[in-house]
Symmetry: C2
């Protein structure tokens, strides 16, 4: 029954990327092709009233309900903070090495009030003997999406996922063997909004904001920050940050460019440390693949270039494909619709 395999564009899966501040829902067809998508501000810290379990139910019904009303047979999967201790149900972390099969083996099942079943992907934990543990939730699915069908990266590569809490994930033989979090995006935000470094910056100019035309001075300031961060031996970040103030006080950087210098310092320090970690003795060269929002990946690409490296690829959001791979690993009936 060929009809069971569906035609291009026939919805097969509802996939949710449900984080702290937003909920992104994708209606996926064969090959993780996006048929439709919806976006809501109902991140797990911004649920509709009354919050809690009822808030999750209501957000789910608002965003996914219309799709399920037409296709109640579609399976539903989710990744991100929805599976955290503050989430709908907890899907405890799975220790490295981890791949999409391990994630599926530890998925948590939620049955909604409407009777739908939602499969939550667990996060991943890396717990090295010599350092503090590290965790991710959502990025492990993005990595699964980036790897899906990419045999040349499965053997060995490093995925860099820039963001509030950037992740550098090492992959060997198709599994995440270890990773490191850098609080780069959050440091940028809190220093800009709450420290003395933001005082000389204009409120309007958000570095990298969509739709804002960047000036040459901003590009140069970003590069100058990257270069300062790439010194050998590296200078201390807590010292170099103060230059954001002194370069502004002395008029050597314009106020509109200070945010870019700060961004360059922070991203540059992250990239220098990430590359140094890749260069450790015994480790062969691994291709570096950037995954995430294109404007941010472009900044990281520039940082890599100024430190003598390059990105093997830049990928936009790979979460839908990762959720598709997760659903497949769960054994959900993606191609076998009920005969109705």
């Amino acid at each position: 029954m060929n009809a069971d395999l569906g035609t291009p564009g026939t919805p097969r899966l509802i996939a949710l990327d449900w984080g702290t501040s937003s909920l992104r829902a994708f209606l996926l067809a064969d090959g993780a092709a996006i048929v439709a998508q919806r976006h809501a501000d109902h991140g797990i810290l911004r649920l509709p009233p009354p919050g809690g379990r009822a808030g999750f139910e209501r957000a789910f019904a608002d965003v996914v309900g219309p799709w399920l009303a037409r296709r109640p047979d579609l399976p539903v999967v989710a990744c991100g903070m929805v599976g955290s201790a503050q989430g709908w149900e907890q899907a405890p972390y799975v220790d490295c090495p981890v791949d999409v099969r391990a994630l599926a083996a530890h998925a948590t099942r939620v049955v909604t009030l409407s009777g739908a079943t939602l499969w939550l992907a667990p996060g991943a934990r890396f717990d090295p003997a010599a350092a503090a543990p590290d965790v991710m939730r959502g990025e492990e699915i993005q990595v699964a999406g980036a790897l899906d069908g990419q045999a040349h990266w499965e053997k060995r590569c490093c995925f860099v996922l820039p963001g509030t809490h950037s992740k550098w994930a090492q992959v060997e033989q198709g599994r995440i063997t270890g990773f490191a979090t850098y609080m780069t995006g959050e440091l940028y935000a809190v220093l800009r909004e709450h420290s003395i470094l933001g005082r000389l910056m204009p409120a309007a100019a958000v570095a990298g904001a969509a739709g804002v035309q960047r000036s040459r001075a901003q590009d140069e300031a970003f590069d100058a920050g990257l270069q300062a961060a790439g010194l050998h031996p590296p200078a201390a970040l807590a010292h170099q940050l103060f230059a954001v103030r002194t370069l502004g006080l002395t008029g050597r950087l314009s106020s509109e460019a200070l945010g870019d210098y700060l961004s360059g310092l922070l991203i540059g320090h992250e990239v220098a440390a990430g590359l140094a970690d890749l260069d450790r003795p015994g480790a062969g060269a691994a291709p570096v693949v950037l995954v995430g929002e294109p404007a941010l990946c472009q900044r990281y690409d520039r940082a890599l270039a100024l430190q003598g490296a390059r990105a093997a690829a830049r990928l936009d959001n790979t979460a839908p494909r990762g959720l598709w791979a997760f659903a497949r690993a769960l054994g959900l009936p993606l191609g076998l619709l009920k005969a109705d």
Copy 2:
């Protein structure tokens, strides 16, 4: 006329340490002995209404007026942000190398509405060719106070002044030849109050707060942060900070100890970088002297010890003695009272 030389305890100088958040006033006798002191919240960002020049006048009259009413002949000197661009009058930065004579040569004179004369010490600037400029305001006077009468430190030493913006100041032949700022204290405050790292910490337990009994778990967490920061090669701060969250999430540190781990990480990174800077090729060993609030200096002493160094001395507030040295360098009549 011996009476002109005064007796022990006879006031000779009014010395003001006037910073961003507070104004500390000292009535000093021979040898910078403190006869009396007053403290007000009238830092330059917290002036009494209406602020501005009138706010400075009013704060000055409130705090210093009673002393001047009795002894209008006393000279008045001040250091700190009162001489900044946002201060009463600007006393522009003096470039390194700088000593108390250079500060006196570039002092700015303010005549108050009441007719008193106030001498403002300039700040110091270090502007190396290979890095961004650095600035200090107030610490250069603390260094002058620490050096006053200390010939054995004048030749060569490093003063470490911990705080919101810690300073590591190199002294050679009695002059500050260079220095570096570390935003350690401000990073601690903004990360604790505004980042995800503060979420797992109790609001009440302010690390190092006076009067709070510290637990053994807190001491151990502080040491653990110092040790993580002292790794060779050093790990990236933006990565290690995330451990404050993961050690809390996994229960490996109690919530009351997380602030101490954060403090240890930040102070440890500062001390590692400061010591590495002292160890640069061609530089001989310089004694390290801690200057500042005793509980904070104790933390830095511990950080130095865990990284194989030690402080040659720990000094409490040296600003009064530094202001005394500044007044002497200005040629003010510290020992020659008017015959009245």
